[in-house]
């Protein structure tokens, strides 16, 4: 029994962190945000050199063949630096869907390009989870029609993975879809509205029926979104502790006031067990099938709650400065807030956990 990260995993995370420190400073994030840039070419290029887009893609298709826990560690780092690159859609949801449900031919044609970073894939699962303002996505032969909202990682995507009302999964080339980017509070990631009008599609077909594929892909996505929140919240806590140790009022460092110290302690006490929850859920996805769905739901929901708490408290510790654009704390705040809503809000996800346990 060893509930800890391996040396390789620690090294992976450290490598990604160092790269991000270097290439994803707040100044860079700020500039990207000003330009609505969510695929910073230099950063994405460096991450690609490390093999990050292929983390979950099997070595047979040019990827690294790692497990969801590794992807979660990367997401944690990306969240920690509010990185302006595609990841959850293009490097987690899409590759897993293609691997789980694609034919050999489909795997051959898509996975190597995703792994090498040559293409990215936007992902629209709204039809399966959390449909809002959609017109149903339907398929007819190898054509899809309809409108999908809040597709992820859409900027400069070469292809879109889209779920239909019947829980089928289709790949549609970007040229065959109409993309309307939607701008949310979180400027570090791109979401958009996709309209398909009899768009030619490549449907993912395999022995596995697509409902269970889709559910499994969503499990993975939830864990990785939770990990992103973990990283973002951890950064906000660290910033609050640093600030509380520097800022002086009444001739004292504010961290020596209990009201401030206790806000920091509460953030830490709430957040620290979340790390174990994310690790466990990620590990369960690959290794403990009976716990996978329920812990994915709980990781997603619990991190959403704790993330919001930390985002708010950290902002308070920073006082008026916390509310300014100047300090940039809000990038983390907003990333946590978008994560909360993605792939099912806490209330929906907990309801799903109730179903999984046969409570309803």
């Amino acid at each position: 029994m060893d509930f800890a990260l391996s040396e390789e995993q620690q090294f992976l995370q450290q490598t990604v962190n160092e790269l991000l420190q270097d290439q994803c400073s707040l100044d860079i994030v700020r500039q990207d945000a000003a330009e609505n840039e969510t695929k910073n070419q230099a950063l994405y290029g460096s991450l690609t050199e490390l093999g990050i887009p292929g983390t979950l893609i099997s070595e047979d298709y040019g990827g690294v063949g790692l497990r969801l826990l590794d992807a979660a560690l990367i997401a944690e780092s990306l969240g920690g630096s509010v990185a302006t690159v595609p990841y959850i859609g293009s490097s987690v949801l899409a590759p897993l869907a293609i691997q789980l449900a694609g034919s050999d031919e489909q795997k051959d044609s898509w996975l190597p390009k995703l792994a090498s970073g040559e293409i990215t894939c936007g992902v629209a699962l709204g039809e399966h989870i959390g449909a809002r303002d959609n017109t149903p996505i339907t398929s007819e032969g190898s054509k899809v029609s309809g409108r999908a909202m809040f597709a992820l990682d859409v900027q400069d995507a070469d292809v879109f993975l889209v779920a239909t009302v019947d829980d089928e999964l289709h790949l549609v080339e970007a040229n065959d879809a109409e993309l309307n980017r939607l701008f949310t509070i979180d400027k570090t990631r791109s979401v958009g509205e996709l309209t398909f009008d009899h768009a030619p599609s490549d449907s993912l077909e395999s022995s596995i029926d697509s409902t269970s594929t889709l559910a499994k892909v969503v499990d993975a996505g939830r864990v990785v979104v939770a990990a992103d929140t973990l990283g973002a919240a951890q950064s906000m806590l660290a910033k609050a502790v640093d600030y509380a140790g520097e800022r002086q009022q009444f001739n004292r460092v504010i961290g020596s006031f209990q009201a401030v110290k206790h806000m920091c302690a509460e953030m830490a006490a709430e957040l620290e067990p979340c790390r174990s929850l994310v690790w466990y859920a990620a590990h369960a996805y690959d290794a403990i099938p009976e716990d996978a769905r329920i812990t994915a739901c709980h990781a997603k929901a619990h991190l959403a709650e704790v993330g919001r708490f930390v985002a708010r408290k950290s902002t308070e510790v920073h006082g008026g400065m916390g509310f300014t654009d100047l300090l940039g704390l809000h990038y983390w705040f907003k990333r946590i807030e978008l994560n909360r809503q993605l792939l099912g809000t806490p209330e929906f996800v907990r309801n799903e956990a109730a179903k999984v346990q046969g409570w309803i």
């Binding site: 029994m1 509930f3 209990q258 067990p273 174990s276 709980h298 619990h302 709650e305 907990r350």
Partner: protein, 405 residues
């Protein structure tokens, strides 16, 4: 990350399961503390003591205590300790004990050879029970300000003063106690740690009724109580450091995740079985969502416990994951009890024998007792000070000289 247990541990677990299956009928009911020899009969060990003896023989209690002091003498293995806690909790069988999880480790670490032989074997057999005489009316969180005095007279310390909130003092055979022996030294350096029989002349125990209606703790008064000088653990004036050792052991015991998971299962059952207006509580989405939020917290604490355990196995300092256990674990327990009360509605307020009472009023009791545990063993606020200062490295409050009013 590897959550499989090696065959050594699987075998250990299976043996334990078999043992529990075969022997659990011998386990005495769920009494919170081992009964003492005062309650025991004159003619040999009582059922709790026999159960403890059986557990020691099989290596399921007092595992790491050396053989010469009556334990099993096994090498410390946090994983086996964890498996024991887990399996007893799952089987809902009363686990064994190591005498007193605060005192015994302290004596083993800091006591003399003579003290170890005197105190450890009967404690782990359940024949010598303990109470903790730390808090005083004027010294709770600020424990080091305590003023109960012990003055040397011949071969004895002579104790005068008062302790309060002393859990179990009315049943205990012995007390481990902090007293001021060096009144002129700075407050942390003038304290000594004494152990003595509760039968010592000059000790008076007055039960103190808690909000639960029971007198689980007491006031203890000392009037010229004489304790031989050799009943000091550690040196004179070093009692604060000895006590910190005990506090460390106590903190780890409160907020135990095994308990939380069991409790969660009990509430789940309750919500499936209890009905309001004819429908199971579980069908009410608001109640259900609250239960789910607690489940998320409970799981996070459970896996946090696995992380601490892994660090301990590797002899690494767990840091933050351990610092938060008392604060978060006790809070979670209290919130779970509150959830159960809310699921029961008015039934959850019955506090007198009634056919309508559920689970013998256990939830009502826990709801209050768990609030006590948020306060006892270092209040939530003191825990936050420690997390802030020791784990996050925030500065202490500036010391201000306040003249006593």
């Amino acid at each position: 990350m590897d959550l499989e247990y090696s065959s050594e541990y699987e075998d250990f677990r299976n043996e334990l399961r078999n043992f529990l299956e075969e022997n659990k009928h011998l386990s005495p009911g769920a009494i919170a503390r081992p009964p003492t020899n005062r309650e025991g009969s004159e003619d040999g060990p009582n059922p709790a003591q026999r159960w403890q003896q059986l557990l020691i023989e099989h290596g399921y209690a007092a595992r790491t205590i050396p053989k010469e002091y009556g334990g099993c003498g096994e090498a410390p293995d946090p994983l086996k300790t964890h498996i024991i806690a887990e399996e007893f909790a799952k089987a809902r069988v009363r686990p064994g004990h190591s005498g007193d999880n605060r005192l015994v480790p302290t004596v083993l670490e800091l006591g003399t050879e003579e003290q170890k032989r005197w105190l450890v074997p009967p404690s782990i057999r359940g024949e010598m029970s303990w109470c903790q005489g730390y808090s005083e009316p004027g010294s709770g969180s600020d424990l080091a300000s305590l003023s109960t005095r012990a003055e040397v007279d011949g071969d004895d310390f002579v104790i005068n003063g008062q302790k309060i909130w002393t859990s179990g003092a009315q049943h205990a055979d012995m007390m481990f106690c902090l007293v001021r022996t060096e009144p002129d030294a700075p407050k942390h350096q003038g304290i000594s740690y004494l152990v003595f029989s509760m039968d010592t002349p000059g000790i008076e125990v007055r039960p103190l009724v808690t909000m639960t209606g029971d007198a689980t703790f007491n006031e203890v008064f000392f009037t010229d109580a004489r304790v031989p000088k050799n009943q000091i653990i550690g040196k004179r004036g070093e009692g604060w450091f000895v006590a910190n050792n005990t506090l460390k052991h106590e903190r780890e015991g409160l907020g135990d995740p095994h308990q939380a998971e069991n409790r969660f299962r009990e509430i789940e059952e309750l919500m499936r079985n209890e009905t309001v207006d004819g429908d199971p509580i579980m069908d009410n989405p608001t109640h259900r969502d609250r239960l789910l939020q607690l489940q998320g917290r409970m799981l996070a604490m459970k896996y946090n416990g696995m992380r601490v355990l892994t660090s301990q196995r590797k002899h690494e300092e767990p840091g933050l994951p351990r610092w938060i256990i008392k604060l978060q674990g006790c809070e979670l327990n209290h919130q779970m009890a509150a959830m159960a009360i809310d699921a029961l509605g008015e039934l959850g307020t019955l506090y007198h024998r009634s056919d309508h009472m559920r689970a013998g009023g256990m939830w009502q009791q826990r709801f209050m007792m768990d609030l006590g545990l948020i306060i006892g063993g270092g209040t939530a606020q003191i825990q936050k000070n420690m997390i802030g200062e020791r784990a996050l490295g925030l500065p202490k409050e500036p010391k201000v000289e306040v003249k006593p009013t």
